[in-house]
């Protein structure tokens, strides 16, 4: 079969000896198999495994030493975990989990390895080529002074008054990092864009927008950073500070392939009512992927937000449709500078929505909301349907009356989501909804909107010790209110804050229950 590509990550120790014997014996190794010799399968992360698929592999095998035979102790176990997670994710993505396999061999199991390679290669040939098209190479262009100057002008960065209010509001600066939006702008104006320190700072920005709220010259710093990132992204291939090995960016880039048919909604609970003929669509988002990726940590359950969101719509007699092959909205590609692939995703999404004749798209994710409602039109994608956040519907329906909330015998506090706060139509809704919930006490002092401490990361980029410091600070602040239940409204806030709670040293003093506002409403609302 033509052009089938199989990547075999082969451990240096056990199986490589077997592989060498195969070569010495002149055994027929399937020509599709491209072997990559590695020191230990335990170090081949999910990001690396998936990267192979992103770059066009049709099958990937992780071949290591048998359990107990690992030279480094935990290699086989790590390989098993990473393989299991990657298999689940490529299944969700519609590639089929059989394209990824793990096998372990002793040095003398030559025939067994040979059989494995032959049968794996046959299976992949039967499955056919992977639908993923590798990202077309782009010609790196050099950074031009005109372009950068244009961006500086566009956002009125030359109007910086050197007052430093931005730094005083910046969560990164407040967490102790040597970081200042003002100095960054000055350095760029001074022509230092090529310097490593400046580039690093551009990737560190959380794009939360707190500085923009306070800036007397009205410099839209997050949008400014967004445009700069896009410029740098296509100018060189230097380090982009992507968290989790760039796994999520790879995942989203893969989704730009039109032939790919993601299967995100395999596990919708039976009690959820869906009407595929409805002209209302529920856009769930990437929660199911997070759940798999983080399943061995943090007890993340983002899918439950999607399910409870659908249940709440059902509760109010709204039966929306769902996209059979839903893709990512593109938020993270947009904010990590990959505008080309962001636009591909945006077009695919809008086409799919239009093809179904959708009049209203409902989402429970602040990032999906902001990206589809604001950023698609901003980048020239015509959105001719209404984009609604679930909270708008909930507030509207609950305001009609005849519903009540079960009493919650807990003091609650709230974590603001930056993407909600930057969308004027919906930024007040979490506060309104929270005030309806019958909690024992609501630590309202923690709703800050403009001045709330961020969850520490954005668009899976620039995670470092300061992100962690920020999360620790946030959790201490939340616990300081006396509350033990933190309400979030963005799945990523949950991922990040739960991560901080896993700290082996600080963990016990940070741990508190976290639940999404959608989950909490679903749990407590009832018809009176």
């Amino acid at each position: 079969m033509d052009n089938i590509k199989i990547i075999v990550f082969l451990c240096n120790w056990g199986p490589h000896a077997a592989f060498q014997t195969m070569q010495e014996n002149h055994d027929q190794i399937p020509p599709e198999v491209k072997m990559v010799r590695i020191p230990c399968i335990g170090r081949i992360s999910k990001a690396l495994l998936f990267k192979a698929f992103e770059m066009g592999a049709d099958g990937v095998a992780l071949v290591g030493c048998q359990s107990g035979g690992c030279r480094y102790g935990s290699g086989t176990v790590n390989g098993e975990i990473n393989t299991a997670d990657t298999r689940e994710i490529i299944e969700l993505l519609g590639l089929g989990k059989e394209r990824m396999r793990l096998a372990t061999f002793l040095p003398d199991q030559v025939e067994k390895l040979h059989n494995f390679l032959t049968s794996f290669s046959l299976d992949i040939k039967q499955m056919g080529p992977s639908p993923i098209l590798p990202d077309a190479p782009f010609k790196a262009h050099s950074l031009s002074f005109e372009k950068i100057s244009g961006i500086l002008t566009k956002y009125n960065a030359y109007g910086c008054q050197d007052c430093g209010k931005c730094t005083s509001a910046c969560p990164l600066a407040l967490s102790g990092k040597t970081y200042s939006p003002r100095l960054l702008v000055n350095a760029i104006i001074g022509g230092e864009l090529e310097s490593e320190a400046v580039k690093q700072d551009i990737w560190s920005c959380l794009t939360c927008g707190l500085c923009y709220q306070i800036c007397p010259s009205d410099v839209n710093f997050p949008a400014f950073i967004g445009d700069l990132r896009a410029e740098i992204f296509y100018a060189d291939n230097s380090e982009r500070h992507q968290a989790h090995g760039g796994f999520f960016q790879s995942l989203m880039r893969s989704m730009t392939t039109p032939a790919l048919k993601p299967q995100t909604y395999q596990s919708i609970p039976e009690d959820v009512e869906i009407d595929q003929k409805s002209d209302t669509l529920f856009f769930g988002g990437c929660g199911p992927y997070f759940d798999v990726f983080f399943q061995n940590h943090y007890r993340v359950n983002s899918s439950s937000i999607i399910h409870d969101g659908l249940r709440l719509l059902n509760f109010f007699d709204i039966k929306p449709g769902i996209m059979e092959h839903e893709r990512c909205c593109g938020h993270d590609l947009l904010w990590t500078g990959d505008h080309r692939n962001f636009l591909k995703l945006a077009r695919l999404n809008v086409e799919a929505v239009k093809r179904r004749g959708i009049k209203e798209l409902i989402t429970a994710c602040p990032e999906c909301y902001r990206t589809i409602a604001y950023d698609y039109p901003k980048y020239g994608i015509d959105v001719d349907f209404k984009v609604t956040h679930l909270y708008e519907i909930l507030e509207n329906e609950i305001d009609k009356g005849a519903v009540a909330f079960k009493t919650l015998d807990q003091k609650i506090t709230y974590q603001d989501a930056c993407r909600l706060n930057s969308s004027p139509e919906i930024k007040d809704l979490p506060g309104k909804l929270l005030s309806r919930i019958k909690a024992r006490d609501f630590a309202e002092e923690n709703i800050h909107q403009q001045t709330s401490v961020c969850c520490g990361n954005c668009a899976w980029t620039g995670c470092d010790a300061f992100s962690k410091a920020l999360q620790v600070k946030k959790l201490r602040q939340a616990r300081g209110t006396g509350s033990r239940l933190l309400i979030t409204s963005c799945p990523k806030c949950q991922v990040h804050l739960r991560c901080a709670m896993e700290d082996p040293l600080l963990g016990p003093e940070l741990i508190m229950e976290i639940t999404d506002l959608t989950n909490l409403i679903a749990k407590t609302i009832y018809w009176e």
Binding site: D308, R311, L312, N314, F315, F316, D317, E397, K400, G401, A402, V403, I521, A522, K523, I525, Y526, W527, E528
Partner: protein
């Protein structure tokens, strides 16, 4: 046109709550909007300066021979004393509607309640509780078409307040519709989201 049943409605409450105006709006809507017959009898005298006040409205497709009501089909109560005075007169299959915060029942009677005065306060004007009550009554009973009532409200309330009053009507109407939806949901055994 299919003949609709003759309905007898008593609206009661304190004097000053706009009870008579509510009766007038209902009757006008039935006549001018829905082209049916209607009569209104209002209590007159000391009641209008406090105490139990009452408006009796009959809506019918045929000529109404006698305007007084002894046993109403629909009873709307906006005060405790009014409820105690009139509740016994309600027909067994009649519909009882109350302001939840103003009428407290000892024994649980089948009824629909709405915190009309509280909602009116949230809207900024306590005196609009009557309009909210009208919206609620229309949603629950389907007595008159809501478009007719809206027109009638516009022509009855003081000039300049029609927008706010229509909003109040919608509030009451939406509450009533939500209430019916909730009852349907409860009847099908699903009162919450997760159960």
């Amino acid at each position: 046109m299919v003949k609709q049943q003759r309905k007898e409605v008593i609206i009661t409450g304190f004097g000053g709550q706009g009870i008579v105006l509510a009766g007038k709006i209902l009757g006008m809507a039935a006549v001018l909007g829905d082209k049916r017959q209607s009569t209104l009898v209002q209590s007159y005298g000391p009641e209008s300066r406090g105490g139990a006040c009452c408006a009796q409205v009959i809506i019918s497709d045929d000529t109404i021979q006698y305007p007084y009501i002894t046993c109403p089909d629909i009873l709307v109560c906006m005060s405790q004393s009014a409820f105690e005075k009139y509740q016994a007169q309600l027909k067994p299959e009649g519909v009882l509607l109350t302001d939840r915060d103003l009428v407290i029942m000892d024994e649980q009677k089948d009824h629909f309640s709405i915190p009309a005065t509280r909602i009116a306060e949230d809207l900024g004007r306590k005196m609009m509780a009557n309009i909210i009550m009208i919206g609620f009554t229309i949603a629950i009973t389907g007595l008159i078409s809501s478009s007719a009532v809206r027109e009638s409200i516009k022509s009855s309330v003081p000039p300049g307040t029609d927008k706010l009053n229509l909003k109040a009507f919608s509030k009451g109407f939406d509450y009533g519709m939500a209430k019916l939806k909730g009852l349907r949901k409860k009847a099908s055994g699903r009162s919450g989201v997760l159960i």
